[in-house]
């Protein structure tokens, strides 16, 4: 069946004396959409930062396609095929929308100083290929007509979509979305759910998303993992997780 592409074993991560993650085991199979939920401060974003190399785990190891990635830097991990978006959108504000997405193609292009100055034939070819990919991504997230705007001039929902397009432009196999629906109105949320489905169907990506909006998580995830106080307390189909005692306790507190 589907093979495991990301595997985290016994992950621990501490910030000083605070254990943000304790012995977390986690795996994602190729082609899945997995939801990661948990109360605030449960360690969800920390786990993301470990997967993308922004932190190195205090203990444990992370394998991506059987390659050890824990300890590598973000710029080394991205070319291997993991891309992410950020909880508090991090676009390149004073760059055009198109340039933002072109930046995603950075790790798929090679032109050096010489090629950039001389504009060699291969660098021109590479540049036009990158442009083509970037345009495709922009059309995919429905921002094709905004390509010359500054990213900072986009609306909130558009910025979220642009961040996804930029991440897709790095040509990942695994896409990590950190609260993609945060702050969106119901219409934007519905569009986003559709977009995430499209990413899987048309682009054949594996997706891991952190989300507080249960309609989104339960609507599109095939599997949901729940973190609380740095531990994984449950994992299963959305239906199973919703009935899980520990999860209900974590979200609603002890019943009287």
């Amino acid at each position: 069946m589907h093979k495991i592409i990301l595997k985290a074993a016994n992950i621990c991560h501490s910030f000083g004396g605070l254990m943000a993650l304790k012995d977390v085991d986690f795996a994602i199979k190729s082609g899945e959409i997995v939801g990661l939920i948990g109360p605030n401060g449960a360690g969800k974003t920390t786990l993301f930062n470990l997967f993308t190399g922004h932190y190195a785990p205090t203990r444990g190891e992370i394998l991506f396609n059987n390659l050890r990635i824990s300890g590598l830097k973000p710029y080394q991990i991205t070319p291997l095929g993991i891309a992410r978006t950020f909880q508090n959108i991090r676009l390149f504000g004073q760059m055009s929308v198109l340039d933002n997405v072109l930046t995603g193609q950075h790790c798929r292009t090679r032109t050096g100083l010489f090629g950039a100055i001389i504009r060699t034939r291969s660098s021109k070819k590479e540049e036009s290929r990158a442009h083509k990919t970037a345009q495709e991504m922009l059309h995919f997230v429905n921002l094709g007509d905004k390509k010359n705007e500054y990213a900072s001039n986009l609306s909130y929902g558009e910025r979220r979509r642009l961040e996804i397009a930029r991440a897709l432009a790095t040509d990942p196999t695994l896409l990590l979305l950190d609260e993609p629906a945060a702050g969106m109105n119901p219409q934007e949320t519905a569009d986003l759910i559709e977009l995430i489905r499209q990413i899987r169907v048309k682009m054949d990506k594996t997706i891991l998303l952190i989300e507080h909006d249960m309609k989104v998580v339960m609507g599109i995830s095939e599997r949901v993992a729940v973190l609380n106080y740095g531990r994984k307390i449950a994992e299963g189909t959305p239906g199973e997780v919703q009935k899980n005692e520990a999860v209900i306790k974590a979200y609603l507190g002890e019943s009287a």
Partner: protein, 288 residues
């Protein structure tokens, strides 16, 4: 044709344009607050002058040697210091600029405090114009490429740039090397025009002057650096008749500029009300 006075003014405008555009690459495009640009200029100036004096190389080769010498030190200096951000980097580059000046002041080879004399006059207006065009051409090509996008991405958000697979240490060092190369070119032209070099011509104030040119013209704008260099070369000359008030007026213009148009004459629009320069003084810690 042109009188010697105007000729000198044009040559200085040209050299300052090279200095400002090369600093603009570091400061305006890559967003690294470097206040030691005069040090790279002096490395290029002394490097090319010494090569001319001792080996008698042709002018173009001397210029190239000086520029490469500056670029080499730009990379050496950039590697450790570019791990710092914002005002910390500013202080480190300021310190390194002073170190370079003091080394030249005490080196026998460079004539020490007496200065280096007898450099042949080779810089002409034509050379300067060609050098300016060369600088602007190369830098524009770099900025409008994958490398330029990486520079700007680092300026805008280093964490996000890392996530795009951009090795920010590599690109910051590259930018420092290229910036220092052209600063060294400007220094070489300066040396072969003035015919005399003194370490104190490349002090802290010279670096601040370059910084002001870039800020006045507009950070991250090619034309801005040219206009800033022109204005700040010509204005002190125009104010020569009121010499006592020169620095006062000069300062007032800059203060006024910061108040009414902080993004510079041709700079990019403000983001969230904060001009590019202001961002250097925000907390420079990585946020996730």
């Amino acid at each position: 044709m042109i009188g010697p006075y105007y000729l000198q003014l044009l040559i200085l405008i040209g050299i300052n344009t090279i200095m400002a555009t090369s600093l603009n690459l570091i400061l305006g495009y890559t967003g690294q607050l470097s206040i030691g640009h005069a040090a790279f200029m002096s490395l290029g100036a002394y490097g090319s002058a010494l090569v001319t004096l001792h080996f008698g190389f042709p002018f173009l080769v001397s210029l190239l040697c000086g520029a490469l010498f500056a670029a080499f030190f730009g990379i050496i200096i950039g590697l450790p210091t570019l791990r710092l951000k914002g005002d910390y980097l500013a202080i480190a580059t300021l310190g390194l600029g002073e170190i370079v000046r003091i080394v030249f002041l005490n080196l026998e080879l460079t004539g020490g405090a007496v200065g280096l004399r007898g450099i042949p006059k080779k810089t002409t207006l034509l050379w300067v114009v060609l050098a300016v065009l060369f600088t602007v051409f190369i830098l524009s090509r770099i900025i409008r490429s994958r490398i330029g996008r990486a520079f700007i991405a680092i300026r805008e958000d280093e964490t996000a740039a890392d996530s795009m697979g951009i090795n920010s240490t590599y690109y910051k060092t590259l930018c420092f090397g290229v910036g220092a190369f052209f600063a060294g070119l400007g220094g070489g032209l300066f040396a072969h025009y003035m015919r005399y070099l003194n370490p104190n011509s490349f002090g802290f104030m010279r670096s601040i002057e370059h910084l002001c040119m870039v800020v006045l013209g507009g950070l991250g704008n090619m034309w801005g650096a040219f206009i800033g260099a022109t204005i700040l070369t010509v204005t002190p000359e125009l104010l020569r008749t009121v010499a006592d008030l020169r620095l006062l007026i000069y300062g007032a213009v800059l203060v006024l500029m910061m108040r009414v148009r902080p993004q510079g004459l041709l700079g990019q629009p403000l983001r969230n009300g904060i001009p590019l320069l202001g961002r250097f003084f925000q907390q420079a810690r990585p946020k996730l």
